[in-house]
Symmetry: C2
Subunit: 173 residues, 2 copies
DNA sequence: GACAAATTTCTGAAATTTCAGAAAATAGGC
DNA sequence: GCCTATTTTCTGAAATTTCAGAAATTTGTC
């Protein structure tokens, strides 16, 4: 495989975006590479295309598999693994959302729960009130994010595209 | 002001959450402190309560002001500034959403736009197709996030709480 | 089961980020 | 307009994160 200049540019930009999202540059670049690749790639190939250490590619691919953003395939008569990215961007978004929910909000819910209990125990109504408000927010976020997982790409897509209209509708209730 | 054990625990946990969200621990802790504080605090006070350098507090507060998550107030006969956090958690969520949109997706939209143009120029239909799909996704996200900014807390709150029901509804369309 | 190809884990170096202390700038009261 | 309390900016040290190279492990083939 050969990368066109445009593809390389996208991959670099995607890597930059990754760093803002808390994803290592090389991990994001690998995802970008697989997203624009026409066929599944072997790890060694990716090393050469992006000039990354083999170890780095290995670790990053594992991370991406954890997000369910890349799949690993094997081929008869070839002992290497080949990787390809989730091609459906809506499915991709859903999986990122789910992973972020798990990592970013799930922990907070538990922390606030504990602090709420402690504040009530102590009879500290002010702090308890704040914890309660925060809990309501976090639980709503969890509920929406969890619900989104239950539906398929087309529903998710329509929901996102209708989002702004729905907000307008709700504002009239 | 004196911090109870529960409050301190919340602040520490909030700081931990911050690091997962790409926010420096000390910045997140300051926000947590102001969120549980009953009255506005002066910077010096926060240094003592959280054992942070004055410079650090100054920089972090500025960052939080950038997010519109804390307000600065002045008092007659006192030349210090006092700070308080946005108390409405839904308003808080909205502001975080807006800031993340600005920092995290706005740049991506532009990058993909450029790559799409380049791919079409080159007649690379495969890459162009991928860019187009990505563009649709990013623009939908932008649209929803932008729309959310137009409505007040109560609409935002209702929308979030109804989110899962709306998804169920849409799945039937 | 030995061998080789491929992958993963381990270790430390390089880069980045966070944060404290010192110096500079700003602002309010007299 | 000067003086001083307060805030901000600058600088570098400490901590963390990212990533390459080497070593160890796994996997499939014969």
């Amino acid at each position: 495989m050969q990368l066109s200049e445009t593809q390389m540019k996208f991959i670099r930009r995607w890597g930059d975006m990754g760093t803002r999202w808390g994803i290592p540059r090389s991990t994001a670049m690998l995802h970008g590479l697989l997203y624009v690749a026409q066929a599944p790639l072997a790890a060694e190939e990716m090393c050469e295309l992006l000039q990354l250490a083999r170890s780095n590619v290995s670790t990053s691919l594992k991370e991406l598999e954890g997000y369910n953003l890349v799949y690993r395939e094997s081929r008869p008569g070839d002992r290497r693994s080949f990787y390809r990215a989730e091609a459906d961007v809506w499915e991709m978004a859903r999986r990122i959302l789910e992973e972020r929910r798990r990592r970013e909000t799930a922990g907070a819910v538990q922390a606030v729960e504990e602090c709420l209990a402690a504040a009530q125990q102590e009879g500290d109504t002010h702090t308890a009130g704040r914890m309660l408000a925060m809990q309501e927010l976090l639980q709503s976020a969890e509920t929406v994010a969890t619900a989104a997982q239950r539906y398929n790409t087309s529903v998710f897509r329509r929901a996102a595209m209708m989002g702004s209209k729905l907000l307008a509708l709700i504002s009239k209730l």
